[in-house]
Each structure stands twice: as structure tokens, then as C-alpha cells.
């Protein structure tokens, strides 16, 4: 693999992405959605500031609470995933469909340069998009006269970085589907199905199923009835036992839910950004000063899965592409 050839491909891919109509449309959409999120966040912030000034509330709002609706638009509402998937899904399948892959590979370069160059190019284009929308949000803050401190600014940079990794995961997923599937529309459907499995089937359906099979019925309903009719010593004892059982049940249930939601890229993203950019109602005493250890202790498992996905998806895409039969 030559760095020089890799750089040429990455540069060409980035330019192709950022000059395409698709990219500009998606960026426009993302800016509108993020802009609306930021306006809502600024309104909340200023309302909270008014309340703090008039003494109704003792909580100083943090400028980072404005970022929280922004990350929500990118993560929870899925607009970030769409832009990343739209850039990735036809990278290989599209070249296969138009047969330009053969002429590309007849040039003196290796396959790994192509796939790495495509990945780097896509991630650079996504970085440009995210930097653009974050600059937009920052400009809106400054226009409104909200100037974050240096510490808050560095937290925003961390959120920016996490957002890029989030988009890169979705991009790598689409790239992998693009290598596996024959046509680009099948690649897109495959991407959505994998997203379905990761963000719904395992964390929501799987969690319900696991809770039901492993833990059995929730003692909640029995408690309601027993508590109502409880009138003897014996019943009270039974009720106490049931309540213990309920506590145990709830603990196990939330452990299962927490573990299975690690599989969802989006909920890991929300958990990671939630540590830094808290929603407005959670910002007590301004921006909390966090130590590195504190953060790692809180979200180490989320971080692990969050970083695992892009490497896993890209690894599969790489290996598959290297061995693909392209006749």
C-alpha cells in the first residue's frame, strides 16, 4: 500500500462527496434540523437564566445544555445516521453497477488502497459536514451573546469528536453492506436491516424476550392484589417476601436492559454525549467539572462498544473487498 496513491484516492473521494448534490442536500437538511434544535436549546437556556436571575431557581444553566437537543437531532432522530449511510451505501456497489470498478482496478494500484481511500474520503467528508453544523451552532451561541468558557469549549470539542465517530460507525456499516450486496439498493436495504437488528431487535425485542424467559412474570400484579387483601400477619410476611422479589426483579431487569442496549450504536452515542451535554433540567450548578476517571467509570462499556463498531464493520468490509470475485 502506498501512502501517495491512498492520498490521491481519498482526496478524489472527498471532493466527489462534497461537490455532489446529494451531499449538499443532506447537509442543508442536517443544518435545518440542528439549527432548530439549537434554537430550542437557546430558548430553554435563556428561560432558565431568567429564572436563575429572578431567584426562582438556584440552578445556573450550562451553555452545554444547548448542545443536548443538537445531539438528539443527530442521534435519536436519526438524521446523522441517514447522512452517513447516504454517503456510504453505493461506494462499492455503485462502482460495480456502472462497471467502473474493473477499469479502476486495471490501473496500477492495490485493492486495499481503494477501500482505505474510500473510507478515509467518506470520513473526511462527514467531518466537514459535522464541523459545518457545529460551527453553525457555535455562531448561533455567539450571536445570542452566550460565550462558553474554555472548559466548556473543550467539552464541545469532545462531543464533536464523538459525533464524528458515531457517523463513521454508520458510514462503515453502509460501506460493509455496499461490499457485501450486489446492487446499491440492496446494500441500502441490508444497512437498514442491520440497523434494525442492532437498534431494535436486540435492545427492545430481545430485552423483553430475555426478561420474560429468564425472570418470568413480574410480581407487580400479584403485589397489587395481595396488598389490597392483606389482613393477617401471614399475609404481611408474604407481601414482604413479594416486595423483596420485586426489588430483585427490577434490578435484574434493568441489568438486562442496560447490557442489551449496548448493542445499539445510537444509544451508546446518546449515553456518551449525555455525560457532557446534559439536558437543561439536569444542569445543576452550571457545567459540572468532570474528571477523566469519573467519565471512564461511568461509560466504559458504552465507549468500548462505541469504538468496536466502526472497526468491526470496516474490518469486514476490508476483508470482503480484498477477496471479492470481480469478474
Amino acid at each position: 500500500m502506498g501512502v501517495h496513491r491512498l492520498a490521491i484516492i481519498a482526496r478524489k473521494e472527498t471532493l466527489d462527496h462534497i461537490t455532489s448534490k446529494k451531499f449538499l442536500l443532506l447537509l442543508l437538511m442536517l443544518s435545518i434540523v440542528v439549527g432548530i434544535g439549537a434554537i430550542n436549546g437557546i430558548n430553554d437556556y435563556q428561560g432558565n437564566l431568567e429564572r436563575y436571575k429572578s431567584g426562582d431557581s438556584s440552578n445556573i444553566p450550562s451553555p452545554l445544555s444547548i448542545i443536548s437537543p443538537v445531539t438528539e437531532a443527530i442521534g435519536y432522530y436519526g438524521f446523522g445516521a441517514i447522512i452517513a449511510i447516504a454517503l456510504g451505501f453505493d461506494l462499492v456497489a455503485g462502482e460495480k453497477e456502472t462497471r467502473s470498478l474493473r477499469s479502476l482496478l486495471s490501473h496500477p494500484l492495490y485493492r486495499d488502497e481503494i477501500i482505505n481511500g474510500k473510507a478515509i474520503g467518506g470520513i473526511l467528508a462527514l467531518t466537514i459536514a459535522i464541523t459545518a453544523v457545529f460551527t453553525l451552532v457555535f455562531a448561533m451561541l455567539l450571536i445570542q451573546g452566550i460565550v462558553p468558557s474554555l472548559y466548556e469549549f473543550s467539552l464541545m470539542l469532545i462531543i464533536w469528536l464523538i459525533t464524528i465517530v458515531f457517523l463513521a460507525s454508520n458510514f462503515a456499516l453502509a460501506l460493509m453492506a455496499s461490499v457485501i450486496a450486489g446492487t446499491s439498493s440492496n446494500a441500502l436495504i441490508l444497512t437498514l436491516i442491520i440497523l434494525f437488528v442492532l437498534s431494535f431487535f436486540i435492545p427492545v425485542f430481545g430485552a423483553k424476550f430475555t426478561v420474560n424467559t429468564m425472570l418470568g412474570d413480574n410480581p407487580r400484579d400479584e403485589i397489587t392484589i395481595v396488598r389490597y387483601y392483606a389482613n393477617s400477619e401471614e399475609n404481611e410476611e408474604y407481601l414482604e417476601r413479594l416486595e423483596d422479589k420485586q426489588r430483585d426483579y427490577n434490578q435484574k431487569e434493568s441489568a438486562i436492559n442496560d447490557f442489551l442496549s449496548l448493542f445499539s450504536i445510537q444509544s451508546n452515542y446518546s449515553a456518551l454525549t449525555g455525560v457532557f451535554a446534559k439536558p437543561p433540567w439536569d444542569c445543576i450548578d452550571g457545567t459540572p467539572i468532570l474528571s477523566f476517571n469519573e467519565v471512564i467509570n461511568k461509560v466504559w462499556s458504552e465507549l468500548l462498544f462505541f469504538l468496536l463498531y466502526p472497526s468491526l464493520f470496516f474490518g469486514i468490509a476490508y476483508v470482503k473487498f480484498m477477496r471479492m470475485d470481480l469478474r
Binding site: 437538511m29 434544535g37 436519526g78 436495504i189 431494535f200 423483553k208 400484579d221 389490597y228 389482613n231
Partner: protein, 343 residues
């Protein structure tokens, strides 16, 4: 246009859809999504039933305390159908079946070049697009019917039998669900007529879906804030005289009314919101129709006596919007397809 040729195309399209692997996979996805949310609704039904079981009578225990249960209404089997509404509204994966059926309706034929040979046969373009639309809607009807049969079967296995007077509600929900998915299908078909490749068509369809589904509810508060200005009650301090406070409260009442009107007007733009409103009104009537006094009194769904007029008065505009979506999207794709240059 003759009905015979339209039916021929619709039949062929319908068969193509329901025998494709993609349709089966997406139907399975739909069943999983709706199954999971119905499980939640079923769970809620059971716990409400156990609340209800102990709230039927008020009893005094030996200490003289009066105990009454925590239920505020009697759950009905139709409450469980809320799972269908939640499943279709909460995740993109439910409507995805409709989007996935429509997005390559035209682009696929253009990409493979089969549209040219298709149009060289003695038939008109409007027969092609109408036949494709009818075939797709029939396949969606089959999917929704499968979901409803699946849910009813699970209810029957668990010994819950919907009452006879709930059947009209279930039938309306079935029809509204089909119209909701038809709106998504028509939208995807429209992007399919406008773009050259299937991949781009799907991307645009997803963008339009997200824009229509999520953008309207997200911008509604900003829109009303922009039009109406700040909340008059926001700057009330404790030491103003009572008369002034009265005036302010009067102002605020008008302000909140107009705020509600604007927010609900903007929300009407979202097809998902309209479907959700109608669905909630049908499946959880006790909560929906008494939102203001929820929990204040004991409500029995069966004896609430909501007439057809009440229903139309409150939800007529939502129902109208539900029909406007497929009509507008399909109209645009029809006109565009008739005029498209297919060389």
C-alpha cells in the same frame, strides 16, 4: 385507460411484491416491531386489570382506613391494539415496509431497461403507474391484515376476546393503518419517479419521511414562540397587585389557547402525528377523551358514549390530512410519470 389492463398490471405487481424476499423480510420486521410494542400494551392491560380487580369495591379495614383501588378506568381489549399504533409511529422500521416497496417501483424498470420494452406493448402510461400503485396498496393491505390477524390470534390464545362493540373501532384502525402506510408508499413512489437510481430514490424517500414525520413536531414550539412572542406569565413577580394579576392571567389564557392552536396546526403537517392522534383516540379512548380530567374519576370505556359526531369534530381534520398525503404524493408521481422522458 381500461380497467382490464390496469387489473392485469396490478395483479402482476401484487404477485411480484408478495413473493419477493424483501417483502417477506420486511413483513417479519413489521411483525417484530409491532409484536414488541403490543407486548408492552398487553403488559399494561394486565396490570390495569389487576388494579381494576381490587378497585371495584371500597372497603374499610380494621383500623378504619378506607381503601380503594388505584385503577381509574376499566381496561378493554381494544387498549391492546395501541401496540399497533405505537409500533408504526415510534420507529422508522414499521413504515419502512411501505417505503421499501415504493422506492424502486419506477427506477428499477429504468435501471434494468425493462420500461422500454414494457411501454412498447399496447398499453398506456397511466395504466402502468395506476397498476403499480394498486398492486402496492393491495400488498400493503395484505401486510396490515396479517398484522391484525396475528395480534387477534395472540389475544385469543391469551383468552382475551374483543367485544362486539369494539369491532368497528378495530376496523377503523385497520383502515387508517393502511392509509398511513399508503401515504408512505406513495411518497416513495414519487421519489422513484423523480430520481434516476434506486439508491438515491430511497435516500430521498427517507429524508422526506423524516422531514414530514419529525420536523413538524420539532419546529412547532419555535413557530408558536415566533408568532406569539414570550409567555406573558413568564415575568410575573410575587408582589404585583391582585387586579393586575387577574388581567395577566386573562392574557395568559388567550396566549395558551392560541399556542395550542398553532402547535396543533403545525403538527397536522406530520402524517405520523395524524395517525398517532387517530390511533390513540380509538385505542385508548378513556385517556384520550378525558385528557383534562384524567385520574379524577372512574371512567368506563364501554359507557363513555362517544358518538360519531364527537369523533369527527375532534379528529376530522386529522382524518382529512391522512387522505391528503397519499392523494398529493400519488398525484405528483402520476403527472410526472406521464410526462417523463424515457429515452
Amino acid at each position: 385507460m381500461t380497467a382490464e389492463r390496469v387489473i392485469l398490471i396490478a395483479k402482476k405487481e401484487f404477485n411480484d411484491y408478495i413473493t419477493s424476499r424483501r417483502y417477506i423480510a420486511l413483513l417479519l420486521m413489521l411483525l417484530i416491531v409491532i409484536g414488541a410494542s403490543t407486548y408492552g400494551a398487553f403488559d399494561a392491560y394486565n396490570s390495569e386489570l389487576s388494579d381494576y380487580a381490587v378497585s371495584g369495591s371500597t372497603v374499610m379495614d380494621e383500623d378504619g382506613n378506607i381503601n380503594s383501588g388505584s385503577a381509574c378506568y376499566r381496561p378493554a381489549p381494544i387498549n391492546i391494539f395501541r401496540g399497533i399504533v405505537m409500533g408504526l409511529v415510534s420507529y422508522v422500521f414499521g413504515p419502512l415496509i411501505a417505503i421499501a416497496m415504493g422506492f424502486d417501483a419506477i427506477t428499477k424498470e429504468r435501471e434494468s431497461g425493462s420500461i422500454k420494452s414494457l411501454l412498447s406493448h399496447p398499453l398506456y402510461r397511466d395504466e402502468v403507474i395506476n397498476g403499480k400503485a394498486i398492486g402496492g396498496i393491495l400488498a400493503l393491505t395484505l401486510a396490515v391484515t396479517t398484522v391484525f390477524v396475528f395480534i387477534v390470534a395472540i389475544l385469543l390464545i391469551n383468552g382475551i376476546v374483543p367485544r362486539l362493540d369494539e369491532l368497528p373501532g378495530i376496523a377503523v384502525l385497520w383502515a387508517i393503518s393502511i392509509i398511513f402506510l399508503t401515504g408512505c408508499f406513495a411518497m416513495a413512489m414519487m421519489t422513484s419517479v423523480f430520481t434516476r437510481t434506486s439508491g438515491m430514490s430511497l435516500i430521498y424517500a427517507l429524508i422526506i419521511f423524516f422531514a414530514f414525520a419529525y420536523l413538524a413536531p420539532a419546529i412547532a414550539p419555535s413557530v408558536s414562540g415566533y408568532i406569539l412572542g414570550p409567555d406573558p406569565m413568564a415575568e410575573v413577580s410575587d408582589d404585583i397587585p391582585y387586579e393586575e394579576y387577574e388581567l395577566l392571567a386573562e392574557d395568559a389564557k388567550g396566549y395558551y389557547t392560541s399556542e395550542r392552536v398553532i402547535i396543533s396546526g403545525v403538527n397536522h403537517l406530520s402524517i405520523k402525528h395524524n395517525y398517532g392522534e387517530i390511533g390513540r383516540a380509538i385505542t385508548t379512548p378513556s385517556v384520550y377523551w378525558n385528557r383534562a380530567i384524567r385520574g379524577d374519576s372512574f371512567l368506563d370505556y364501554a359507557e363513555m358514549g362517544i358518538s360519531f359526531e364527537d369523533f369527527m369534530e375532534k379528529l376530522g381534520s386529522n382524518i382529512l390530512m391522512m387522505f391528503i398525503y397519499p392523494a398529493v404524493f400519488f398525484g405528483i408521481s402520476y403527472v410526472r410519470f406521464m410526462r417523463i422522458d424515457l429515452r
